[in-house]
Symmetry: C2
């Protein structure tokens, strides 16, 4: 799960870490679409900040929203240089030597410039977010008032400069270590949805809507 400055040879990578740097659009999209959470990095007066936020993917861009826009935009007239990172931690990999312990993961890093959307694009984007999350969610709820729209910001960044890394499978041990009596293997980690919790203030007789019942989230 490290970022080598100097890329090792493919052979070294396969043997050593069993991860591959992947750049194909399908892998990138699948990592994005399996996640609800990103970490956005930006710089203010030389200090890095990393803010967690929900995001969604549409039309070759990633989108996120929040009042963070105001903080990120401080002193940035022409867009905000950001690093957009998404990570799935998929398992703990226990090897026969301490140096070869590892984790299974899928991660993605996109560099670029984020822009704040205008009024029309903002509204389309948020509607798209709700309906991407759960079909019917946007129509389900009362629409925002003009005052609420005003304090809502949406940022967007094109997915141009993107790298992804994926590690899967069992540990890769040094050849001599395979003779040892140590156990080796993987403890998988999964993120899933739990039992739905209706609002205690819900008026009586209001059933859980189908789109909520049918919502399934699984990180892998």
């Amino acid at each position: 799960m490290s970022e080598d400055n100097k890329a090792p040879s493919p052979r070294t990578v396969m043997r050593r870490y069993s991860w591959l740097a992947k750049y194909d659009r399908e892998t990138i999209n699948s990592i994005l679409d399996a996640s609800l959470l990103c970490h956005v990095g930006y710089v203010i007066d030389g200090q890095p900040y990393v803010t967690p936020t929900n995001f969604w993917r549409m039309d070759g861009h990633v989108y996120w929203h929040g009042s963070s826009a105001s903080r990120m935009l401080r002193g940035q007239a022409k867009g905000i240089p950001v690093c957009f990172t998404v990570t799935h931690l998929d398992g703990l990999v226990i090897a026969r030597s301490a140096f070869n312990h590892n984790v299974n993961f899928r991660s993605l890093m996109a560099l670029g410039t984020a822009e704040v959307l205008g009024e029309t694009e903002k509204r389309d984007a948020l509607k798209g977010f709700c309906d991407r999350l759960m079909t019917g969610l946007w129509e389900h709820a009362r629409q925002p008032t003009e005052k609420q729209w005003k304090v809502t910001h949406v940022l967007r960044m094109p997915l141009n400069e993107v790298s992804a890394k994926v590690r899967t499978g069992p540990p890769i041990d040094d050849e001599n270590d395979y003779e040892h009596d140590s156990w080796a293997g993987v403890i998988p980690l999964h993120t899933t949805t739990g039992k739905i919790e209706p609002d205690p203030q819900l008026r009586s007789g209001i059933a859980i809507p189908e789109f909520v019942k049918q919502f399934r989230f699984s990180s892998n």
Copy 2:
């Protein structure tokens, strides 16, 4: 899940977002100790980078390791200004109005300067990491060779400037919206361990060790 530049009044916070900015050490430690993954932000030539990595907490510091040290250290003689962020996404909060949809989460942001550990401290820290993760993990595996130690870097940052945010519970709707017929509630998200996967290359007759069997991870 947004970072307001100007802190709202406590009353507004309770009503509007139902989150609280929390700074007590107990909350901070509990968020850290329930996570295996952090996102570290740093700056190279004005460009922000956000790298996911495993971490651990010891003695009022957070520690992480990896060859990322070499990249982060480029041009930074006296430590690396970083933002260290940990996030748990605990649920999707569906409200009666679109503006009040939210997420339940626990997040923590620590600002500071990371330092690369020297040889002795590095070895103690990695042993501590393994045994914090699973008691017995360090002794289980073959110890690193001197060559392996050489390419292993550990970074450490004191937990001095830390802020945490926590949102829990049902949606907070505008007063008038409680009369609506819309359903409202929470879809919880959980991260847990799956079925242990022994290495297919495991020699026959090697049982899963007790410390692996007993390992439980739950983000909440």
